[in-house]
């Protein structure tokens, strides 16, 4: 009887500890997210600079509209891509080409292979998509960091596994190792902080490609505004209409 009670107690303690750990990780991710987005819905203007070695290869401009419920709409603004749109509703994705009048339903893999991997710019939060544990502490570039092992909670995430390093001091993201479905390290992300509107925010995310040598990408967050779109704009059928803010 005593043995059984002790086992139940131990199990309860361990479940309670796991739940507390889970809540702690969620809280850490939420804090880290606030450095990347800081608004529940709005528009983020992004410039993506692709490098071949140290040479700037391409520059791309995007406007990303975000809504709660893992909804995002990416408008391609560079001359060679103007008119393209990508809509992401949870794990479902659509691509609209300017010459077409019906949005193409695309797979997560096709989204990942797209230009500049638009998933990298349209996904601005970790707390809704990932869960995991704090697996230790490490020093990255002289900063004491918490190391988080994260696993995607949804099938459509671009990177099913992430190892994330958050500054111990204020929980801002410092580095992330992004792994694709085959568990290969695809990209190493570094985060540069700056002052935006009096707030400390991520201003640049640098992605070093590990699958393609000599390739890297800088994602510059040019502006974040609370300019929101109505729900209609996040309907795939709406993509054929041109009355979207550019």
């Amino acid at each position: 009887m005593f043995k059984r009670s002790a086992m139940v107690l131990l199990a309860s303690i361990s479940l309670g500890a796991a739940a507390a750990d889970d809540a702690k990780v969620k809280a850490l991710l939420k804090q880290a997210d606030d450095y990347r987005l800081a608004i529940a819905s709005g528009r983020v203007d992004t410039e993506v600079r692709s490098f071949k070695g140290d040479t700037l290869d391409k520059t791309r401009l995007y406007a990303v509209y975000l809504k709660p419920g893992r909804r995002s709409l990416v408008l391609f603004r560079t001359a060679s891509e103007r008119g393209q749109k990508m809509l992401m509703l949870g794990d479902d994705y659509w691509l609209m080409m300017p010459a077409s009048q019906r949005p193409l339903r695309i797979t997560a893999m096709q989204k990942l292979l797209g230009e500049a991997s638009t998933g990298d710019i349209a996904t601005m939060t970790w707390s809704e998509d990932y869960d995991g544990s704090v697996s230790g502490e490490e020093t990255i570039d002289g900063q004491a960091c918490l190391k988080l092992d994260l696993v995607g909670q949804r099938k459509g995430v671009s990177y099913p596994r992430i190892v994330l390093y958050l500054a111990k001091k204020d929980r801002h993201p410092v580095q992330a190792e992004l792994y694709v479905a085959s568990d290969k390290l695809a990209k190493l992300a570094r985060f540069r902080m700056g002052e935006v509107g009096g707030r400390r925010q991520v201003t640049v995310m640098t992605l070093v490609d590990h699958l393609q040598k000599e390739r890297s990408t800088e994602v510059h967050y040019l502006s974040r505004t609370d300019k929101s779109l109505s729900d209609d704009y996040f309907n795939p059928a709406f993509l054929v209409r041109a009355d979207l803010p550019q």
Binding site: S50, D57, K58, T59, R77, A79, S80, R82, G83, L89, D92, P98, A99, S100, Q101, R102, R105, I106, T107, A108, M109, Q110, L112, L113, G114, E115, A116, S117, K155, G156, V180, A181, S182, D209, Q212, R215, D231, D232, N235, P236, A237, F238, V240, R241, A242, D243, P245, Q246
Partner: protein, 425 residues
Amino acid sequence: MPESPYRQRRLLGSVVALMIGCMSQQARAEEDASAAFGWTTRVIAEARDARVGSAFSAGLPLTGFGRDRFRVEQELRGRSGPVSLLLIATESGQEGNKPAGRLVAHEAYADLDIGGERFSVGKKVLSGDVAYGFRPIDVLQRESRLQLAPTSLEGIPMLSWDNFSTDGAWSLVIANPGHQRRGVAREDGSVALKLYRHEGMADIHGVLRHSRRLGVELGGAVSVVPGEALELHASLLQQRRGERLVPLADGAGGAQLLNADAALAVETPANPRKALVGGTWTTEAGYSLLGEVWWDGTAPDAADWQRLYRQSAQRAAMLGLPGVPAAAVAGASAASLRIFDQGNLLRRGVLARLAWSDSASGWSASLDLLGSLNDGGRTLTAAVAWQGERLRFDAGLRRYGGPGDSAFGLLPDRTAAFVGLSLAY
């Protein structure tokens, strides 16, 4: 029809005026986020290798078949407020003809929000389906698919009332308002109801259209994404009436064979169906494999192509016979080539497409095998493209093959190729 030098100068003037307007608009766009225009210049060179001994040889000089050599396009695309524009000025060259120019508004329409209801009015491209190689429910635009170096689609006059909910939408579309029945189906007046619903992993599309020519057409399509790498799709159309061009009936006499007006007949099959199933598999390494099979109850069947083969041979054999004017043979032969103008030539088609792309380097390549399950004809197309910051390069090579009495075996071309460069501003 070749354009006069005066008309070409006027076109050039219009293009320059548009460019100036576009640039000033672009400057204003810095302040007005609702205005955005882009300019693209495209240069495309084409070459063809004619089939030696084609039974259509006598008629070819009377057609534009296989004679496109180049085109230079200046494209203005964008919008200002609710108005969207796609203007293309084209200078094209055909073998044996002087270059010709034209300026066409491919799209010019307004998206309006009136009293909470959404409308679109103007000239707009209305093509669409979930499929790639053949699109059964593309009943409004009737786009020809799988062209080697396609020109931009030209929209059709339309008025639509659009309604959007969280997971769905419907549109009531009046296409070519005021038209009844015109020379070609896409210019007919029609009314259509389009439905859309997003249900979990599936996109469901429906269309109901009525036109005087074809009566009621009812279609549905679905695209499903059951996994991270796999997409499956299907599309089905049931028509009250169909329409297709077929060769003269068997047993035609010499006079009929030489009558250009009678070289082809319009058949109107009752209750034809069009159906397609397919899917795409994409890998992490950037490869994708697309496969589709389809049935088109309005496409010519193997017997039609065999009949065309026999009649073309009969016409060719009449050349040089006493009392047979060469012009009549050429005219009838040229007229019979219009059978290839139909959007889809295959009653039962199969398409396999292997593609690769690398967004980091900008390179992509594809290999398409299109086959007829009816007559054994086939085409093999290889294409490569590179997309840079503003510059894009495209090149493609297509080879037609199969039995001489198959659709692709009958084509006067044996090989076609193109190279294109475009620059976006």
